[in-house]
């Protein structure tokens, strides 16, 4: 995957570039908004990571201009801590996801994977399947083998989010944002308790375990 990182802070840039290269991604770095916009519109990238605050042209304007110029690559925006307005403005301006600084590399990696490898039509698929687990998004039915599984609405959304990203790590923060629309860090174990609830319903008896915990990163649903 070819990624363009537009970030002026040298240390953050080095941290992100090093980390992503270690995971086997091709990363190009641009240090200011104008240069970043030029490269985003003249080269072909699979993903843009854009800092909200940039010299020359701010990140939000870069994203808007890139979208206006027809750049279709997914955009992950990096916003400053506490700047809750930036999240909304970024998403409205054409970003696909946002990440609040400071972030852990695991968090960034999970989001990069979720954005970069998202098959174009996955969002529209009506049936999600992982091994013998099937989730019907229209009829809101979940089956493991032939056994129907009864889930609460929020549990259904949680499983749906995991299955949309089957094989990829989904972090606790991503789940809080996407399943509960919580854009803050609750002081309690909401995600953990709900995960253990759906685990108890899905991974029962002698069936192979599907939902895995990745320590320090998040959760992943996969066949083996």
């Amino acid at each position: 995957m070819r990624i363009l990182l537009i970030e002026d802070d040298a240390q953050t840039a080095a941290y992100v570039v090093k980390g992503l290269r270690e995971t086997g991604q091709g990363v190009e770095l641009s240090r200011d908004g104008r240069d970043g916009l030029f490269r985003a519109t003249h080269e072909d990238f699979d993903l843009l990571i854009v800092d909200r605050m940039l010299p020359g042209l701010d990140g939000l304007s870069v994203v808007k201009a890139a979208r206006a110029a027809g750049v279709a690559a997914p955009v992950l925006m990096l916003t400053a801590m506490g700047a809750i307005e930036d999240r909304v403005a970024g998403l409205e301006g054409g970003a696909d996801d946002y990440l609040v600084k400071p972030f852990s590399f695991a968090e960034l990696h999970a989001r990069v994977n979720a954005l970069g490898r998202r098959p174009p039509l996955k969002e529209q698929e009506t049936e999600l399947i992982v091994a013998d687990l099937a989730l019907d998004r229209l009829r809101r039915i979940v089956k493991r083998g032939n056994q129907a599984i009864d889930l609460q609405p929020r549990e259904f959304r949680l499983l749906e989010e995991l299955m949309l990203n089957a094989g990829r790590i989904v972090t606790r923060t991503m789940l809080l944002e996407r399943v509960w629309d919580f854009h803050f860090d609750p002081g309690t174990n909401i995600v953990e308790t709900h995960i253990s609830r759906i685990r108890a319903k899905i991974d029962r008896g002698g069936d192979p375990v599907l939902i895995h915990t990745v320590r320090g990163a998040g959760y992943v649903i996969r066949a083996a």
Binding site: M81, I84, P102, F184, D185, G187, T188
Partner: protein, 451 residues
């Protein structure tokens, strides 16, 4: 009164006002003077004309009935009286018969006469007004009077006006000065208070008077403002001290961890120490995040993109999220009734506010205490209640716990920076709601109330 003080008095608003009034007074007197002068002039002249006309009628009568000799005797007698008019009688050929009125070329009717010398000299050449009329024997009788008399009346009136006007003007200025001195003294006290506050003496207050005039009102306004500033400054001081205190603990631990890590040689222990250090840094960052979030909410930018929020389903979503945790902690958790209610607001912020209230209830209500969430909508307003049956908090602390970094002693040991309720309070203000603390008997009921 020193000259500097006089300068300031002269520069004061009251004196300027007094001067403007005095100037208006002068203009009014001048207009009145001109009016009175003109009126007196014509009235006095008319009076003289009337007197001359009467005299003329009487003498004509005399001539007609007594003949010339009688008339001449009458003129002589009248001219000799003090304050008499002036006469001149000429015969048919124009020769003077009697009288000393120096009319050169008399002709019938009214005329004015300019006499440069003689008795009028002292007044600098007075005008005479003269009436001439033909006598039965073909001569001409002229009767005149000195207009100086009318002039004297006019001068007297004008003098009176000037004296009265000048006196009034002096009085007005004196009253203005006295009033200005009083006002200036009070304004001085006011500006001295502000200087003292400016110099850092935040407790200084303007002299309090219960009066209702403008200076009293300004004084009271200044005092209210100072009280508010005092509060704010005290708050800022307290908050910065609290921030320092709250950060000191995790930072101290962080330092200890790093020192231990640096001294050790076992790679496993080193990893462990670094991990703990990272957790401490995260704790510090969480405090910063909450602080930044609080100030961003208070700045009110979110108001620009308020939308319609379905409060009942928001409550359902948030309480559903917390239910497993709350029940796992051994609390009985009841939600409802939830009346249908829509508000104009920011769903993400209201979500956080409710989450903070629930987390507070879990954290502070103690083992097993029941927690109850309700949404009441009525014509009186909207109440979103989070009630716990824990020990509650003393009434005296209800206000205080809403302030940033305030943590009651009983909760000093639990995690959190004491910003949760401040954020709730800021979100409430942003949404035009109030946060109320109520006694749930036993326990605490925190309410977001829209009216």
């Amino acid at each position: 009164m020193s000259s500097a003080r006089l300068d300031r008095i002269l520069a004061s608003t009251s004196v300027r006002l007094a001067a403007v009034y005095a100037a208006l007074l002068v203009v009014a007197f001048m207009l009145a003077g001109v009016g009175a002068w003109a009126a007196t002039k014509s009235a006095a002249e008319n009076q003289i004309r009337e007197r001359i006309q009467l005299e003329m009628d009487a003498l004509q009568e005399e001539m007609r009935f007594e003949g010339m000799p009688g008339a001449i005797a009458a003129i002589r007698a009248r001219a000799a009286r003090p304050g008499a008019l002036d006469y001149r009688l000429v015969d048919r050929q124009g020769r003077p018969v009697i009288g000393d009125l120096k009319v050169e070329r008399p002709h019938p009717g009214w005329s004015f006469l300019d006499l440069p010398d003689d008795e009028g000299a002292e007044e600098g050449g007075e005008d005479f007004i003269v009436l001439s009329s033909e006598t039965p024997d073909g001569g001409l009788l002229s009767i005149g009077d000195d207009l100086a008399r009318a002039e004297r009346i006019r001068t007297a009136v004008l003098n009176a006006l000037l004296w009265v006007g000048g006196g009034a003007l002096a009085l007005a200025l004196a009253a203005g000065l006295i009033a200005a001195r009083g006002a200036l003294r009070r304004m001085d006290a006011l500006s001295e208070t502000m200087t003292r506050v400016g110099a850092g003496e935040l407790a200084a207050r303007a002299p309090a008077r219960s009066g209702g005039d403008d200076i009293d009102r300004i004084g009271r306004g200044v005092n209210e403002m100072l009280a508010r500033i005092d509060d704010l400054v005290a708050n800022i001081r307290r908050v910065s001290t609290d921030i320092a205190h709250d950060l000191r603990t995790p930072l101290t631990h962080l330092r200890q961890e790093l020192e231990t890590a640096a001294a050790g040689s076992d790679i496993g222990a080193l990893r462990e120490a670094l991990k703990t250090a990272q957790e401490k840094v995260d704790e510090v960052l969480r405090i910063f995040d909450a602080m930044l979030r609080l100030s961003e909410i208070e700045a009110g930018a979110a108001r620009a993109r308020f939308g319609q929020v379905d409060l009942a389903s928001l409550v359902e979503r948030v309480t559903d999220a917390y239910r497993p945790d709350i029940e796992a902690a051994g609390h009985a958790f009841e939600v409802g009734p939830l009346d249908a209610a829509w508000i104009s607001g920011d769903a993400a912020l209201v979500t956080q506010a409710l989450a903070n209230l629930l987390e507070n209830a879990i954290r502070h209500s103690g083992q097993g205490a029941a927690i109850h969430v309700r949404l009441h909508g009525s014509t009186a307003g909207l109440r979103l209640e989070v009630e716990d049956r824990g020990p509650g908090i003393p009434v005296d602390d209800w206000e205080r716990v809403l302030q940033p970094f305030v943590r009651l002693d009983s909760s000093r040991t639990s995690p959190g920076a004491g910003l949760g309720l401040s954020i709730v309070s800021a979100v409430a203000r942003l949404h035009g709601a109030r946060i109320l603390m109520e006694d749930a008997n036993p326990g605490l009921r925190a309410v977001l109330a829209w009216s």
